[in-house]
């Protein structure tokens, strides 16, 4: 068996004339958190959707546990143990918490044609899953149209965690969350990693990405600028990668702030860096790694 659970080889994805992804190579390891970085429209969501079985790659190869494979549906990906939190959450407002939680993967009881949806157990699991995210559900049978944005996001995450046996994909999971819930999500990500799952995380928040991630892959306008191990990059460099090397002037003040914060913990005089220097550093690393 391969060392990687998922491998992409020269994967491209086109939508008509739009090139959403071009020649992407990526490897995802069990027990690692793999962070996808990139600007808005860089192709992050498109990339994870090809991993989730929503989009078929237009070109290139998808390998699962070392074997080439074509995912034809999200259902197939779920059967393989790949669960996804989509950016738009994929929830149905008119349906209840429990029905959303188990949508497509219903918990059944009984035999043959008399199999039925085991609502009671399902309710319990859904409530427990949300409690782990820090959300107290009032009534698991209530339609989620009445839930807050963050509560819905936690529901989508709890669902993916419950069904992701091997790979957990999170597309901006903390976008709508409060401080406590964001911390919970990161905790859950760390827990999943400790359980040996592979986690693919998309976020625009470096404070969320840096502490939990083991690897960073940088996307820019549909192309990969390379994968970096955490050991090889600093938080500042990550932040810079996320900005796509642009608007550095604006960033400088922010960087100065990090510097102060970092030098508070470790007397890091070596963090004195100027943005241009960091950019060259990361480019070199891209070339080496």
């Amino acid at each position: 068996m391969s060392e990687f659970i998922i491998e992409l080889k020269n994967v491209s994805r086109y939508f008509g004339s739009v090139i959403a992804l071009q020649d992407i190579n990526m490897q995802v390891k069990l027990g690692e958190v793999h962070c996808l970085l990139g600007d808005n429209g860089a192709g992050k969501s498109t990339l994870i959707k090809t991993l989730a079985g929503v989009h078929k790659p237009s070109e290139g190869e998808f390998l699962y546990e070392g074997k080439p494979m074509t995912l034809t549906s999200p259902r197939q990906a779920l059967d393989l143990g790949i669960a996804t939190v989509y950016q738009d959450l994929a929830l149905v407002s008119l349906m209840s918490v429990t029905r959303n939680f188990f949508m497509g993967r219903e918990l059944t009881k009984g035999w043959g044609p008399f199999k039925y949806f085991d609502t009671q157990t399902a309710n319990k699991i859904a409530v427990a899953g949300l409690a782990e995210m820090g959300i107290e559900v009032r009534d698991p049978e209530q339609a989620i149209g009445t839930m807050s944005g963050g509560e819905r996001q936690c529901l989508a995450i709890a669902r993916a965690i419950h069904f992701g046996a091997k790979v957990l994909i999170l597309d901006e999971p903390t976008a709508a969350l409060g401080v406590k819930q964001s911390a919970n999500v990161l905790k859950v990500v760390a827990k999943a990693k400790a359980r040996g799952l592979a986690v693919i995380l998309i976020t625009h928040n470096v404070h969320h990405a840096y502490p939990v991630a083991d690897r960073f892959t940088l996307l820019n306008r549909g192309q990969s600028l390379g994968t970096f191990l955490k050991a090889d990059v600093t938080r500042e460099e990550v932040l810079e990668m996320m900005a796509g090397g642009q608007e550095l002037a604006d960033l400088e003040s922010e960087l100065a702030e990090f510097q102060r914060a970092d030098s508070a913990d470790n007397d890091g005089g070596n963090h004195a860096l100027d943005a241009g220097q960091a950019a060259t550093n990361s480019m070199q690393k891209a070339a080496n790694g």
Partner: protein, 373 residues
């Protein structure tokens, strides 16, 4: 705050953010609440207006419940499909078509009746599959696709029956169906022994020769009940039911989490075709004739019943029981107006008003459920 203290607070008293919701509020949130109250109102109204007209005698009851059950069979199919977010406007034409598919082979080609019944079900469901396939494949609104089939099937029925029989009404199916094993399941009656017994103890009125005025329950009523119970169970208690709600609520979201929405929709188009054929079979085998223009406008009546029953036209919400109530309101009012001798034009006025009221009410309910989004 530690987890232990959170738990102890939630255990010691229920969530402080739940307001006590009255039973009535809960009832109001049911999709079928509107139709349920409609049924009660309609019954009260006709109990006063037509109480002594025989509408609530055994044969009167049978009369309006048969009409309701006929529509109910169609409404159950239309209901599941509407919850899945689609329409089937070809149901009415399918009734005419299926009726002819039963009658022509049985009468003109000497097929045993059971085989022509099976042929009707298979052909209809194959057409249902085809309609569903076009809808999910092209992504076109089912409204348009099934409207096309409304015309195609009606035209085909008339053209083919003229081609094969030179007529558009064929009768005599009851004669060839006499000793058929399958025909009684559609054209027969249920509980005849029970009604004879009721007559013998004088509980129901009889003809002069002592045979009961009501000899049994038409099979369409039995079918309607069976279909409604099964459909309701599937909708609320099974995985497939969850898929129906998901497909109608948000097909893209449902697909992304692994719900085979295309398959669900195709199966439900086959189910509406099945329901239409069931209606046709009962009609043809009970009355012994088939006509090419049967089932005219039935697709709209079914949709009206479903909407009165609380389903949202946009999908994702509704109940089979509601659709059944919708059909019952329909049947009771139609027959009640007949019994009271009011001009039947008023029936249409009533129908329109009822439909409008139901849609307004459903819209209000939907806003309550999704107000936070």
């Amino acid at each position: 705050m530690s987890t232990a203290s959170i738990e102890s607070t939630t255990n010691s008293r229920s969530d402080e953010r739940i307001r006590e919701v009255s039973k009535i509020k809960k009832l109001l949130n049911r999709p079928d609440f509107g139709a349920m109250s409609g049924v009660i109102l309609v019954f009260i109204f006709f109990a006063f207006v037509a109480g002594d007209s025989g509408m609530f005698a055994a044969d009167g009851i049978l009369n309006w419940s048969t009409v309701s059950a006929q529509l109910g069979v169609l409404a159950v199919g239309a209901c599941l499909l509407m919850i899945a977010g689609e329409f089937d406007l070809s149901m009415g034409s399918m009734i005419g078509f299926a009726g002819m598919v039963i009658a022509i082979p049985a009468l003109y080609w000497d097929w045993p009746v059971w085989s022509s019944i099976l042929l009707a079900f298979t052909t209809a469901m194959a057409i249902g599959w085809f309609i569903g396939y076009i809808v999910v494949r092209t992504g076109l609104p089912s409204f348009i696709v099934s409207l096309a089939f409304l015309f195609i099937l009606r035209g085909l029925t008339i053209a083919l029956s003229i081609l094969f029989t030179n007529k558009t009404i064929v009768s005599g199916v009851d004669r060839v169906a006499e000793n058929d094993w399958l025909a009684p399941f559609f054209g027969g009656e249920f509980g005849t022994g029970f009604f004879t017994w009721l007559a013998s103890i004088g509980a129901i009125s009889t003809y002069n020769d002592g045979s009961p005025l009501v000899s049994g329950i038409p099979m369409i009523i039995v079918w309607c009940v069976v279909l409604a119970v099964v459909a309701s169970w599937v909708l609320f208690k099974t995985s497939f039911g969850n898929w129906i709600f998901a497909a109608g609520g948000d097909a893209k979201a449902a697909k992304n989490v692994g719900v085979p929405t295309d398959r669900v929709k195709i199966i439900l188009f086959m189910f509406t075709a099945f329901c239409a054929t069931l209606y046709a079979s009962c009609q043809v085998l009970e009355f012994g004739s088939a006509a090419a223009d049967r089932g005219l406008l039935k697709e709209f009546e079914a949709i009206i019943a479903v909407v009165i029953g609380g389903a949202l036209l946009t999908g994702g919400y509704g109940s089979v029981l509601g659709a059944l109530f919708g059909a019952l309101i329909f049947g009771v009012v139609q027959m009640g107006i007949f019994f009271t001798g009011i001009s039947s034009d008023w029936f249409r006025v009533f129908l329109g008003v009822m439909l409008l009221a139901a849609v307004l009410f459903n819209n209000f309910v939907r806003k309550r459920i999704t107000q936070a989004s």
